[in-house]
Symmetry: C2
Subunit: 305 residues, 2 copies
């Protein structure tokens, strides 16, 4: 496995590709087949790692109906170990820590291959019942597996609303976090505001800012747009108008994602913030997944070291 900690440190622009594991109900053969198709799509791309999500039912976060129904998905670590066997590079395994008891997390942590990174995610709402909270899970990771690069999520939309997300990032960093992965970015100004407040706050405290990986996701239909909004992604009005009025929304979305990547990369270079991109598709639609692969390849061409 490539050394993720070194990539985290050395890369100019870190490049990740995000995957949702197959539904929990699929057979082992089907899961193997999905893994194979996925790896074939990504062949030859200079990725620094995959990202494997650990889905949680977030329907408590909003009263609106989920545009795509929630399906329980396979455990990301199991999908990686049992099916993505052809993948020899790093993979960032997400953990929605509230789903697990401290014992379950400990058992899992003990089984993590050396150097394999994780992103620990807290509850989607503060009122939600959790088995382990985020600070507890982070402390467990630090004490049990200090070799595991520990990541956390960063949410520009929360910064827009509460103006203190940068303080939360610093608290996470002090809990051992060495990189951040954002929620899907459609509002580039909101992402720049968070990155800027974070970097200047680090500077005030004499801290080195941790790498910030921006998540990009494609949108080729009104339903996917609704789903992005359901997930809490702030899609600016002008982007909504373009996506709903275009004859080729997916092509437009590719252009928008690449513009976003270029603008964020230039801005982070100016700030002195190491950055990266995590490209994914929030839907399972083939055209949107292939567009995500295309965007990741284009970022590699334009920004590769």
């Amino acid at each position: 496995m490539a050394d993720f900690a070194s990539a985290l440190n050395d890369r100019d622009v870190l490049l990740l590709f995000g995957l949702t594991p197959p539904r929990a109900s699929v057979t082992a053969e089907k899961a193997d087949q999905i893994a194979e198709v996925t790896l074939r799509r990504l062949e030859g791309m200079p990725l620094d790692g995959l990202v494997l999500y650990d889905l949680d039912d977030e329907s408590d976060r909003t009263e609106e109906e989920r545009p795509f129904p929630f399906m329980r998905t396979m455990d990301p670590a199991d999908f990686l170990a049992d099916h993505l066997t052809g993948w020899s590079e790093a993979a960032v395994v997400y953990r929605s820590v509230g789903k697990y008891t401290p014992e379950e997390l400990t058992t899992w942590l003990d089984s993590v291959p050396p150097g394999q990174p994780t992103v620990m995610v807290g509850a989607s709402t503060s009122g939600k019942q959790v088995r382990t909270n985020l600070p507890e899970a982070q402390a467990l990771c630090r004490s049990r597996r200090p070799d595991v690069p520990l990541g956390a999520v960063a949410i520009p939309e929360r910064h827009k609303e509460k103006s203190n997300e940068h303080e939360r990032l610093i608290a996470k960093q002090e809990a051992g976090v060495s990189f951040f992965v954002t929620q899907v970015v459609y509002d580039v100004t909101a992402a720049k505001n968070l990155a800027s407040d974070y970097v200047y706050a680090c500077r005030d405290r004499g801290l080195e800012p941790a790498r910030m990986v921006f998540t990009l996701s494609l949108c080729g239909s009104t339903k996917t747009l609704q789903f992005l909004q359901w997930l809490g992604v702030d899609v600016p009005r002008w982007v909504q108008n373009e996506l709903t009025n275009s004859r080729d929304p997916l092509g437009l979305s590719v252009v928008h994602a690449l513009d976003t990547a270029r603008e964020l990369r230039a801005f982070c270079a100016h700030l002195g913030l190491r950055c990266g991109f995590n490209v994914e598709s929030v839907s399972t639609r083939r055209a949107e997944i292939e567009a995500a692969v295309h965007v990741a390849r284009q970022i590699a061409f334009e920004m590769g070291d």
Copy 2:
């Protein structure tokens, strides 16, 4: 005088330069001198017109202290007619219509040179006592002087808050308005959202969108930043951070204004919305005024027909 109505119609990118008339208390000699210095600064620039503001005391709009004290200024039409005598091109004379009785507005309208444009502005708050309201003033202009190109203001920040500014623009257009001048733009996403909603709403109604002139203003100090915010301009956090942490805030502001102009121009070209820029300085500081002149010249170089 160059024909403003033709420029409004034909120009790829309309270029205006905004001026605040001198204080009402200055002598005629001093006003002549200010006019002369101003015209010397603008010499050789391919401007489609000056913009002459009609300041109103807006302190009812906010309880915060005005960073620069309010000073009564000379009437913009008087400054133009009596002092800017060396200016032979168009000039857009603003009218804060609430300050005047219908009789005063009529007298002024009757004196407007043929084809000289005006921008009529309503009250800064809905509760404010006015002598004439905006629809009355617009009707007066239409009936009395249909040859006068009539403009109105467009406020992206109001769209952010109430999401209906595009409907207000369409209502103004139906009242005879043939161009819009925005409030100072620092939040490019907010400006794009308004332009986009406006264009798609026009399309739905089979209306040709009127030209939108975006106002750009420079900022070289914390005090000017505070004044912009006092005026209601939404300056994104990242821009605030850059301006307050830079060793050369004015240089950075020049770069930001030009980036904003390029992004808005490209976006309007995509939308099929005729656009333009009105460059001004909200402060009377010499360095900021000269930076505004520089930005206008650069826009002319980059975007001139």
